[in-house]
Symmetry: C2
């Protein structure tokens, strides 16, 4: 089964939720490979992540025009697609693992780059182990990515800093709006942000605070059980003392019994089960118990796609990760994930490192207790100091006719060399 190509051909795929800067990582891989000239051969990309690898739907990045590449770097979401698809293990799903190796071999791939969160790092590790068992020479490099920032082993995950900047800025802006009008209008404003298991994104809403009593007044973390009575009392107290109250809530908050607050039980105007959502639930609670005029916003995909407000630090991290992956593969490294590490003494400086994939897989990094204010409703000074560098710097996209001039790519796939894959 062994066929060693002269030059290192790379297959890159990304998986899971996309981010504002994941395309910048893809760009950096392509750019570093081009600059390596003799060192690297082709860079292929799996369409829609691992699904495209299984189906041999591959894109040859050599076909991308320089203008497309420049746009790729500044375009949010996944220009090559991504997927929600969890591969089993080589034991439960040997056909798919074998197919992946067949596709890699058919295109003489020497290095597989997998960009994603904890699940993807786990998949990368399994592919590496399987290729070892099968005797196929393959370098496997994991690239970190997740807006949730819950990936183990890296100081931060590209994607998070840009969401954090968006959430910090949006909270600051909306709070100014509410403050302007609270005497005669809305008293309570709730912003729902992502983060099902970890409160990193919610915590970012505190980064616009200059003084401890600046909004947001209450942050609801999934790391803390939600107590409706205590919450209602604190909202009342805040409105009575400040005139208004800004709340930022993680989508993943749960009550003391472990039930998600987002699980509504109502019916909409059409008689259908009402989709829950944390913000509508909290708004209903405030309306019923306090009677204050209230408004809510749900940031949803807007927050993770907001390339127009990307963090320069985050973008730099995304690019550094892509370049480092090429460097590691060329140096013969394998079964590691690229990491980002703070440079001691430098406020915003980061460098890349690596960690064995096996150490990363299936571990989750929650917001440390020391980052949460003792009362459970805010971010500690330590937490703010840790997070602030990640939203540092602006990195605007180019605009055309008033909107960002993003890449809108429908890339051609290369000619298939294998028969179609039929699972099972």
């Amino acid at each position: 089964m062994i066929r060693k190509p002269d030059r290192l051909n790379i297959l890159y795929a990304q998986s899971g939720g996309v981010t504002a800067v994941i395309n910048a990582t893809a760009w950096a891989v392509i750019d570093a490979a081009r600059k390596a000239r003799g060192g690297v051969g082709r860079v292929l990309v799996g369409r829609d992540g691992i699904v495209g690898v299984l189906e041999e739907r591959l894109i040859d990045t050599a076909k991308l025009l320089p203008a497309d590449l420049a746009r790729l770097k500044m375009t949010p979401a996944g220009a090559f697609g991504s997927c929600r698809f969890k591969l089993g293990t080589p034991e439960t799903d040997p056909a798919r693992y074998r197919r992946i190796l067949e596709v890699l071999e058919a295109h003489a791939i020497g290095a597989f780059f997998y960009n994603g969160g904890g699940d993807s790092q786990d998949t990368a590790q399994k592919i590496a182990a399987f290729s070892r068992t099968e005797g196929y020479p393959l370098k496997v490099i994991g690239l970190p990515k997740t807006i949730d920032n819950d990936l183990y082993g890296t100081d931060f995950s590209p994607g998070y800093g840009s969401v954090a900047k968006y959430v910090a800025t949006s909270t600051l802006e909306a709070a100014l709006d509410v403050a302007s009008m609270s005497a005669t209008s809305t008293r309570v404003f709730i912003l729902e942000v992502m983060g099902r298991h970890a409160g990193w994104i919610a915590a970012a809403s505190a980064l616009g605070q200059r003084r401890p009593d600046d909004p947001p007044h209450l942050i609801l973390f999934p790391e803390r059980p939600f107590d409706p009575e205590d919450f209602v009392a604190r909202v009342r107290e805040t409105v009575e003392s400040r005139g208004y109250c800004v709340v930022v809530a993680s989508e993943g908050i749960r009550d003391a019994t472990g039930r998600f607050i987002a699980e509504g039980s109502g019916k909409d105007a059409f008689g259908h089960a009402q989709l829950g959502g944390v913000a509508p639930a909290l708004a209903g609670l405030i309306g019923a118990r306090l009677g204050y005029k209230h408004h809510f916003a749900v940031a949803d995909y807007l927050q993770r796609a907001a390339r127009h407000l990307a963090s320069k630090t985050d973008l730099d991290g995304a690019i550094a990760v892509g370049r480092a992956a090429v460097r590691l593969a060329r140096a013969g490294r394998s079964e590691v994930m690229v990491t980002l590490e703070r440079i001691p003494g430098s406020p915003t400086g980061f460098r890349t490192g690596s960690i064995p994939l096996g150490e990363v897989a299936n571990r989750e990094r929650r917001l440390p207790d020391t980052f949460i204010r003792p009362d459970g409703y805010g971010v500690s000074a330590l937490g703010r100091r840790h997070l602030a560098p990640l939203i540092s710097g602006e990195a605007y996209p180019a605009y055309r006719s008033g909107v960002p001039d993003y890449l809108r790519l429908t890339p051609a796939e290369i000619t298939k060399r294998l028969p179609p894959f039929v699972a099972r």
Copy 2:
């Protein structure tokens, strides 16, 4: 009652919902007055709009430091506050009208500037008429402002262009996100935007389209009755042909019987009446009828406070309006609202004009039929051409520590000269 000051003293107040650029209009009034030197005396500002005028809670803008003024220009929402308070008529509420004149006279005000939407222009007209009746010499100038863009007599209202840029960009970004993942994840995405009576804001979501079939695929306007069956059929058809469907919905859409779609009838996790919202209702409809995985975002205040993504054209309009008000008052004009007019032949050029307040008051400008696509779910080419200039250009705020360096003002109020006002 007549005491004519040597120089023109101005009292400025804003009313109704705030915008991303209303502070820029206030800044322009202050700046133009300062530059007029001998021509203009003091510029006072009513705290929280007309409420602060009634309560004699006034700010002397001479006290603002140059650094604060520079920040004022780039800060969203109302640094001096605004209010939701509708003054009656001089017949139904003579005490308040008399009080306003007393406050004006106590501070030797010669010109009253009122910045707001249709209601505010109506109030301005009534104050002008009352001062005439009472023999108090007063110039009254209306300044246009509304994110809804439904103000009569002006080509556009400052505040709208920035919301429009935000909605166009956010729709584009979220659509790229959904497109990346739709093969294995979310198929339908719904963005709820403001606009209770007019679809100007929803229409702006089309400004990121390059081709007719680009997202958003379906726009729901308050100008068209919402037909659930037709909507469901179109969502299905779009997902089947394109793989995903992006919907932008005005908060103000209603069914054929006139009932707001936002009026939910459910209960939340706490057993309280569920706050409705158009996006959750549409999401529930899609889930129940089509079973597609769906997500929704509610932009709420984020859209009208998004100074970080302001339209340069909109900002320029806001500033032009403030300067023009000072110019008109100095020229002895009264009972007019400043307008913005397109310069024929110039794609993005505007100039100021004026219109009698009496012609503006209580008229509402809906999205013209010719701007809506014949099928009712999109914007016509004519509409896009009309709206595109309004989102043209970027006008970024300065940043500090990763977030915009907005003004956070708690301005001191001047010493009162009158006893407190007790209504009735």
